[in-house]
Amino acid sequence: MLSYILRRIVATLPVMAIVALFVFSLLYIAPGDPAVVIAGDQASPEDVERIRQSLGLDRPFLIQFGSWVWRILHGDLGTSIFTNLPVSTMIGQRLGPTLSLMIVTLLLTIVVAVPLGVLAAWKAGSLIDRVIMGFAVFGFSLPVFVVGYILAYIFALELEWLPVQGYTPLTQGFWPWLQNLILPAIALGCVYIALVARITRAAMLEVLQQDYIRTARAKGMGQGGILFIHALKNAAVPIVTVIGIGIALLIGGAVVTESVFAIPGLGRLTIDAILRRDYPVIQGIVLLFSFVYVLVNLMIDVTYTLVDPRIRY
């Protein structure tokens, strides 16, 4: 197992290299110019050109790419064109809020979606099943920002139970931390819950028709035991896969959610960097996201061995 994990980690290197080349090339050919944004609207073309030169943006593609790769190989993600802060510092400032949001959303999803999916499969064809699947369609269809605005209006403005925006680190208390994340996690989790609930239902339906389930029933085993001990464990592989793939969904959704709830996370940093053409920051974040995604895939593969002993690497 350990050698498998090591091999997979080594295999991420070419993936990251391709991502790096792809991202750098895309940004190079993309329209827009950070020097224009820096110089301001009233700046002369000469001033813009001087700023471009001082940032090294007038150098040929290969030289810019080469110096960037050299820095990456030395563990340096570079410095933001705009803030003059190291990209690693900026990412570090933003990692906590995004990680918090994703963890709370992930937990919320698992706690809500898996039981709903199991329930829908158990009561397949009934009113309960239809209501749950109706909710899933609803969750898929509503954009994150619409859910966010509705939640903020009801629970923050009208009921005044929760704050509208912002983020409080966990170091300042569990409840202050959580109360800033409840509404964003629900908004972000809607699509994710819908997805996981549907997959859970489908996987459970297949398993519930297996002979060993009939045998368990024949032996007089209780419904809870059948569903959660025998069936769910055997249906876990596709569920775990979808939960893992859904991390990408969360990363994309975090961009919108963080804007709607003014959470200073990586999603907002990404948008700000793209709008300003802050190339080093965009490159750093994309590399990080790619790495996280590759890592999540590895974790999913490892998790398979935990839920299904027949799988061996």
């Binding site: 301001g40 802060l85 704050p163 925006q165 170091t171 700000d272």
Partner: protein
């Protein structure tokens, strides 16, 4: 490796990340009574007011760095860091003396050498600074509190240049910081203004914190814009960056922030209904909407085509597209200058007045030789103002029978593409939309958009010798009457040649909670004199 080991590892990693191993900003903390939480117009992405000249940087910098002079609400430069000045009879030698007791935030005294270094850096980037530099014989520190600027010929607008609030502002920094190349960013933010920048708490895109500078010695005069006594009444000013207008409105209603610089027009009615919120015009100098036509290529290299468009455009259409139905927020503007300011004139502005004559405009366009070639119109969709204006312009051009190549893009792309001098079909353009802060348009000092020096002019590269002649006349004017006469002629010349097309004058609101007092109108958000009760 078993299941328990994996789960323990994951829990440990998550716990480390969330429990302070990673720095995390506190945005939504219950604010102390003496902390003013402010939502600015944009993100403070950099903090060098000479290197980056965005308005948001200028606004933040006005808290941290002080100026030698400050423009007051009557547009007159008043002494700020300066105690006295002398000018020689021939107007070429200026001797300035600094106030005593001025200190930087690091505790060091403000000395003449700091001022000299700061002015040297500023003059490279500022249009007026460049003019002074072109006349400069020497700029030297005479002693710790006195410095001398010797010119080859008089520059009557010297005090205005040193006190103007148009970016880049002549902010005074310590010499070691001011010696930074003006095209490179500073990394130390030490000023002598009434508030200190808390660099350690700065999270670009999320928040910026400014703390009261207790050693600041305000002037005794009443505050007026950037002049007078800058008495800070709170301990901290926190800028909370909110990219989403609806979230900012909700946060203000909920009391999570205290002051929102520029609520969008659509949300103002909701804020006005809230009994805890005050809403008023923020910047009385407002903004002038504009679109620029490229003088280098057909059809707008012909003044008849430019005049045809001006003749047909309805400023009311543009303004309603920007601000909606609130008539108190806009005015027609048959002028290039900011309404209700001392030099405002409508001389030559007849082309923008009265009923729009589409037939006459079409006839003039035909006389220009326009024969249906595409007109490349750049419109930034991520800026509500340019998007609204772009839609109106596209309709206007179609009514004139023009073949519109509508390029819907983002502001970053417009910013880069408008600098292209290549033909429109080869990466260039024919028109783009923007707007100018009214503070920049009160006179020609910082009014880049009105300059018409051809190849060296702002994007569109207008050529208008008459306009340039009158700009020079204004700079040489010795009194207000001469200035007014020069501006009248300037406005007419610029209208005749259509240096650019003004689409109207519009204002914006600012909104604050009623437990905040002392908010005043100004060209920048003014934090001195603002207090907050619990």
């Amino acid at each position: 490796m078993d299941r328990r080991t994996v789960l323990k590892g994951l829990a440990g990693a998550g716990g480390l990340a969330l429990s302070g191993g990673l720095s995390a900003p506190a945005i939504a903390q219950g604010a102390a009574a003496r902390t003013l939480r402010f939502v600015p117009q944009a993100n403070l992405a950099n903090f060098d007011p000479i290197w980056g000249t965005q308005y948001v940087v200028r606004n933040a910098a006005a808290m941290v760095w002080d100026t030698l002079y400050g423009i007051d609400s009557s547009f007159q430069p008043q002494r700020q860091m300066v105690e006295s000045e002398q000018v020689s009879d021939d107007g070429t030698t200026w001797i300035f003396k600094l106030r005593s007791g001025l200190k930087f935030h690091d505790g060091e005294p403000v000395l003449s050498k700091d001022v000299v270094a700061s002015l040297n850096r500023w003059a490279v980037r500022d249009p007026m600074g460049l003019m002074i530099k072109a006349l400069q014989q020497e700029l030297t520190a005479v002693d710790d509190r006195t410095f001398k600027w010797v010119l080859k010929q008089p520059f009557p607008k010297m005090l205005f240049a040193l006190g103007k609030n148009n970016a880049p502002v002549a902010f005074i920094m310590p010499e070691r910081i001011a010696q930074t190349d003006p095209f490179k960013q500073i990394s130390e933010y030490v000023g002598s203004g009434p508030l200190k920048f808390a660099k350690a708490e700065w999270v670009p895109g999320a928040k910026a914190v400014f703390e009261k500078f207790t050693d600041y010695v305000p002037r005794q005069e009443k505050p007026s814009w950037l002049a007078g006594g800058k008495q800070v009444m709170v301990d901290r000013v926190e800028w909370v960056i909110m990219p989403d207008a609806a979230t900012a409105a909700a946060a203000l209603q909920n009391g999570e922030v205290d002051w929102w610089e520029n609520p969008i027009a659509d949300l103002v009615p909701v804020l006005k209904k809230n009994k805890n919120i005050s809403v008023d015009i923020g910047d009385p100098l407002g903004n002038i909407g504009s679109f620029r036509m490229n003088f280098l290529y057909p059809p707008f290299n012909d003044v008849k085509a430019r005049r045809a468009v001006m003749m047909a455009l309805s400023q009311e259409d543009y303004m309603r597209a920007i601000v909606g139905d609130d008539n108190s927020l806009w005015k027609s503007l048959p002028s290039y200058f900011t309404p209700d300011t001392p030099l405002y004139t409508e001389m030559g502005g007849e082309i923008l007045k009265g009923k729009r004559d589409l037939d006459a405009a079409k006839k003039l366009l035909a006389e220009s030789g326009y024969s249906g070639q595409p007109v490349t119109c750049l419109v930034a969709q991520d800026q509500p103002i340019t998007k609204a204006m772009g839609d109106v312009t596209a309709d206007l051009l179609k009514q004139l029978g023009m073949n519109v190549d509508f390029v819907a893009t983002d502001w970053g792309t417009v910013g880069a593409r408008r600098a292209q001098k290549t033909p429109p079909g080869q990466g260039g353009w024919n028109m783009f939309h923007t707007w100018h802060a009214g503070a920049d348009c009160v006179n020609p000092a910082a009014y880049t958009a009105i300059r018409a020096t051809g190849d060296k002019a702002w994007f569109g590269w207008p050529t208008s010798p008459g306009t340039e002649k009158e700009v020079a006349s204004w700079f040489e004017a010795k009194n207000i009457d001469e200035e007014k006469a020069a501006i009248g002629r300037l406005n007419k010349a610029a209208m005749d040649d259509v240096v650019y097309a003004p689409t109207g004058f519009f204002l914006g609101y600012t909104a604050w909670r009623k437990n905040v007092s002392g908010v005043t109108k100004g060209p920048v958000p003014l934090f001195w004199g603002v207090s907050k009760s619990a």
